[in-house]
Symmetry: C2
Subunit: 204 residues, 2 copies
């Protein structure tokens, strides 16, 4: 378990790691699309290894988990969907309206999220919708886990600008029945989802 950190230290840490991770996302993209010669690829690799050495000089042996600030703010910085320090994450910026039980995220997915040529991988659509439907069930300090998730792919999802929307259908104790969809740039539904999300009972 990690000690809570002050909001100021969290802010300071974010101010150096956020730009690092943003640069890394761009590097992932150009690694896929690059057409430079072998010598330049090898030079790039040497630079990457040098960066890895620098950052790896002092490592947490655990994955990031979810840390908290002393004022109770959650820092899910390693999360594969929303993590500020995780270059795999688009990252999703989830806007929640807890009163209305809704969540929304606008995102842009590039070459790194491809499945069929020019399209978002069906499994990536599933990841986004899983996270977004789950977000309607989250409560402060009470994460919700996916129980079941059903996806219906009604049209190809083109790479580019997308929106994901989710809402609560009904709740039953610690279970949230949520639904949602993914929309392409023109507002057409490409994938529909429904799922049951569970908040485990906490020890008394």
């Amino acid at each position: 378990m990690n000690e809570p950190i002050t909001p100021e230290d969290a802010q300071r840490s974010a101010s150096v790691f956020e730009p690092l991770t943003r640069s890394l996302r761009e590097l992932i993209d150009v690694t896929i699309r690059s057409q430079v010669n072998a010598a330049d690829v090898r030079k790039a690799r040497a630079l990457i290894d040098e960066a890895r050495e620098l950052l790896g000089a002092r490592l947490d042996s655990n994955p990031f988990g979810v840390r908290f600030t002393t004022d109770g703010q959650a820092l899910p910085w390693g999360n594969v969907a929303i993590g500020m320090r995780n270059a795999l994450a688009p990252p999703l910026h989830v806007r929640r309206d807890e009163e209305a039980g809704r969540a929304t995220a606008d995102l842009v997915l590039g070459a790194a999220y491809e499945g069929p040529p020019g399209q978002v991988h069906g499994g990536m659509c599933a990841l986004i919708l899983d996270h977004l439907l789950g977000a309607t069930a989250h409560r402060r300090d009470e994460p919700a886990f996916t129980g079941t998730l059903t996806l219906r792919y009604v049209a190809p999802t083109p790479l580019g600008r997308l929106r994901a929307e989710s809402w609560v259908e009904r709740e039953d104790g610690g279970k949230t029945f949520a639904a949602g969809h993914l929309l392409d740039e023109k507002g057409r539904i490409t994938v529909q989802a429904e799922g049951i999300f569970i908040r485990p009972k906490r020890p008394a």
Copy 2:
């Protein structure tokens, strides 16, 4: 549409890009777990930006798609699940037994695939199972698209060594009804999946 490349050129390209992407996967991992000071993070970012400049000097404006060698081998190098040049991909190494209609993949997921602390993100499990179930439906030059996918999360999936297995339940024209599951290191099922995968009719 890209021109087919010779198997020799594909081999040469793989021999420089595969080590590059492997180094990049390690860099993504240490970016999440690093505890070095701000000055070293900034130095690492400068190296990453330098690598990005080098690789970005000549870029394909399109995502990678699926390219083919002159002898018909598919190169899905940008794919988010299996792409050799995609650092987001674990990558999955899918072993297919086409006769038996089965597919299997062993994989190790580290800090970059985290959802709940210490566990694989539910959406990441969905991505892996979507790809693996879909693999049972693929035919040479006839990719299969996900129609529907249902996931049942029966236990947490710990980060670490995992196995995914899938099989064909039945086929009906261009539709493949597939099922599968994800197993943890001890062989316990953590997620069950079933789905319908569709091979579009080709123009005559």
